[in-house]
């Protein structure tokens, strides 16, 4: 919602003119995103995307003799209802006004009916975990214990933390319940306390201030100018689309109606795709571009915005490192699960510098989520696709390996949404990395940032 708020602020300040889509041929990366959206329209809604039902079973075998012994995890809650009514009210109020003056076409009237139904269904459920969200969390936990049974054997310990938000607490609950169903001897502890918010859901006030600098807004304005609006949609829903502009802001309406439709993929209304079907794949793709760029500006290493926002999750990364250091000393450390939000998971992925193991053409992944660029056209080209990081239920898992407790060369690999990814450090056994290398690299990076921050530069 913070992103939506920012967008509203942006629109209010700049009133960009809706223009038609630049019809230049699509680049290879654009085509790749379009293909994904064609298969899965919800991908276009970025953080409202739903978690995949199944995950490819193609994990790389561990180096000889090494066995998984500990998991450290941070996961976003599963699918939920939209946080606040305001996200739906923007297009809805415009439709109410248009309906009052009898400007709705037959399709427009049907859209209005669907919007009414969605609002009624969502009332008093704002932000609640949905049944789809519960199922996602169960499936993720089930795959975790099935893929790494050694970590959860016998009376292994599972320690879980959640932010104090109900949907995160319940995501933790159903995950733990699923694990215990598979192994009732697990020793489980859980907590959802204000006392852990400093790393579980840290929002850095200093870095937040620069989340959208004038320079960044200018770049964003330029980037979105050719991607806003949808005159085809206006003609479809309103009898006099040119006059209805007085009551319906085309850019707002297009954006929020699309979001409203796509959001239903997270609820029990997911079979009714009437709203989503109003939009072409290209419409959805443009919205994805608009959103993706904004997420990059606000949560990535974008130099236009100070280039430091991912450091907002430095406490979490330090905590994960400290926890791992401590757990490695134990004979059977089990698993540490953390349940939070996408506004934490995305910058954490950027901070770690997660990147794809391979590009679409099979070459080694070159660009990661630690991408730094002032050219917003670059981010799509270089694979900075936020939807691939932080759908509902998204998660990062560190899986640790060793031969036995005396083994000093601890290996680990990172799973992003349960698939192996690469890191920006050298390894002789990727996707496995030497824990000491990763640890040293991260701590050095964090120390350097904190030194800079403390010196006020």
């Amino acid at each position: 919602m913070k992103r939506l708020f920012s967008l509203i602020t942006y629109f209010t300040l700049f009133y960009p003119s809706p223009l038609t889509l630049d019809r230049a041929p699509f680049t290879a990366s654009a085509q790749a995103v379009l293909d994904i959206i064609r298969q899965k329209p919800s991908y276009a809604s970025c953080n409202y995307d739903i978690y995949p039902d199944s995950i490819p079973d193609n994990l790389t075998p561990a180096p000889s003799g090494k066995r998984p012994f500990y998991i450290s995890h941070y996961g976003r809650h599963g699918s939920r209802y939209i946080n606040r009514r305001s996200g739906y009210d923007i297009p809805y109020k415009m439709m109410v006004q248009a309906n009052d003056v009898d400007e709705l076409t037959a399709i427009g009237k049907r859209v209005f009916g669907v919007m009414n139904y969605i609002l009624e269904d969502s009332e008093d459920r704002w932000g609640d975990l949905t049944s789809i969200g519960r199922k996602q969390e169960c499936q993720i936990a089930k795959r975790m214990i099935t893929r790494f049974p050694e970590v959860f054997a016998d009376s292994a310990t599972v320690s879980a933390r959640s932010t104090v938000v109900a949907r995160c607490i319940m995501s933790m609950q159903v995950s733990l319940g699923e694990l215990v169903q598979h192994n009732p001897n697990l020793i489980v502890t859980m907590d959802a306390s204000q006392s852990t918010q400093w790393y579980m859901n840290h929002q850095d006030p200093l870095l937040r201030k620069s989340k959208l600098t004038p320079e960044a807004q200018k770049a964003y304005d330029k980037y979105t100018a050719s991607r806003l609006g949808n005159s085809r949609l206006m003609g479809l829903l309103f009898k006099n689309p040119d006059i209805i502009e007085e009551l319906v802001d085309e850019s707002y309406f297009n954006y929020y109606l699309m979001k409203m439709g796509l959001f239903q993929q997270n609820t029990h209304l997911n079979q009714d795709t009437f709203l989503t079907d109003l939009f072409t794949t290209e419409d959805l793709y443009r919205m994805w571009q608009i959103d993706n760029a904004l997420w990059y500006l606000q949560y990535g290493f974008c130099p236009l915005n100070g280039g430091d926002y991912p450091y907002s999750q430095r406490h979490l990364l330090r905590q994960m490192i400290a926890d791992a250091d401590s757990c490695i000393r134990l004979n059977k450390p089990g698993a540490q699960l953390r349940f939070g939000h996408e506004t934490v998971l995305l910058p954490l992925a950027c901070l770690i510098g997660i990147r794809a193991l391979k590009n679409k053409d099979g070459s080694p992944g070159r660009y990661g989520y630690d991408l730094r660029t002032t050219n917003l056209d670059d981010i799509e080209e270089k694979g900075w696709w936020s939807s691939s990081i932080f759908s509902m239920g998204s998660n990062i898992q560190f899986i640790f390996y060793r031969r036995n407790i005396k083994d000093k060369d601890i290996l680990f690999k990172v799973l992003l949404n349960e698939e192996e990814v690469a890191l920006p450090i050298y390894s002789d056994c990727a996707p496995y990395y030497h824990w000491r290398d990763f640890r040293r690299s991260c701590l050095r990076k964090l120390d350097k940032y904190e030194k800079k921050r403390n010196s006020g530069k």
Binding site: R125, I169, V174, L176, V180, P184, M190, Q197
Partner: protein, 438 residues
Amino acid sequence: MMRQTKRQISATILFFCCVLCSTAQTISEELQADVRRAAGMHYALPITEEMDDTPPPQGKKPFYINHYGCPSAYFLERAQDYDAPYLMLSRADSLGKLTTLGRDVLARVEQMRKEAHDRTNELTEEGKRQARETIRQIAKRLPEVFTDKCFIDTRSILENNSLLTMCEAYVELSRVHQPMKLYTNATKRHQAWMNPQDEVLENQRRDSLAMARYREFTARWAPDDSHLMKTLFNDADYAKTLDAATLNRQLFDLAGSTQYVEKGNYASLFSIFTPEDIRRHWMRRNAWAYIRYGGCTINGGYQSYTQRRPLWNLIHMSDSVMQLDYPVAHFRYTSESAVMSLVCLLELDDFGVQTDCLDSLEALGWADYRISPLGGSMIIVLYRSDKNDPDPLVRVLLNGHEARLPFPSDCVPYYHWKDVKRYYLRKLYTYIRERNEN
């Protein structure tokens, strides 16, 4: 009005019966046996004891559990609850105004404040243990319900302490049997039957007469502030500059909360109060709980009807579950005040008693810690021989013990479902009619 008069007569009879005939442990004896009970609704119910279960009549087996649970033990609700007494004692200490005991109390309060930092209103470790043990005990007592086919539904209000109680219970339920069909939800949408509010009754709750009577009662039963101040402060003139009554109350709150943390961390604060003051503190709180959630006739006698929707839901849900051929368990986690009103509305163990005499509560056995302590629960268990059984039975467990319902049965503590349904639906509909007429 007729109904209310009859109830007051019943209360009077019950009062004399209690005074003259009771052989059960009195409230004074209970407080002496375990002073932690004086924390009232913040008493953390011990779960360790073995419960006596009356066997069900021949051939009857449990098939439906409908559970309403209070949150387990949690830290006090506001940081202010810890900060205020700490700051007052801390300042006095800096001025050298504390006695040896006063400094000791300060050290204990400081430790409690530290433990509760950023954890107010959250479950303590003791609370988590309590939530898990409660489920283990239920599963042990009613094993016939927890089978492959059983469907379990856990729900909570959106309060952190209730949510975490539900989470602990859910995980423990996952441990009881595998595979188990478990469902969970916590949403404002269910507020109407999870923790309903009633504006009309809330407006009556603190009406001027009730507040006047309560103030008169608390003045008569005020603890001896001067005694406490003498034991804590070495300078009587300095002590006079402080709000002794507030400090007394705040320290008593803290005393109640020490039972939630790991045993042995520090000595209980109850030791600084005299037995008489402990009793007075408890009486004042108990009366306040009765006015707000019980059958107190000073403010109308209907406060417990705030929970009429959960009762209604309970009846209809039971009727629905009877149509199923598999066992069902509903675990609902709500506030301790909602459970209290529901127990009073159901008139379990005579807790529905109506009186305008706050002084009679102790003799009537109306004690908040008996009704909805932390970790407490009210569980309705339905029994039948098979799906076509025309005479399902009901047994109610209140905080683990078999409870009495307000009408007779030929198989107590089991009651015939048709009697249960008839009594409570009539009670609800009578109230609705009277309310509509007024």
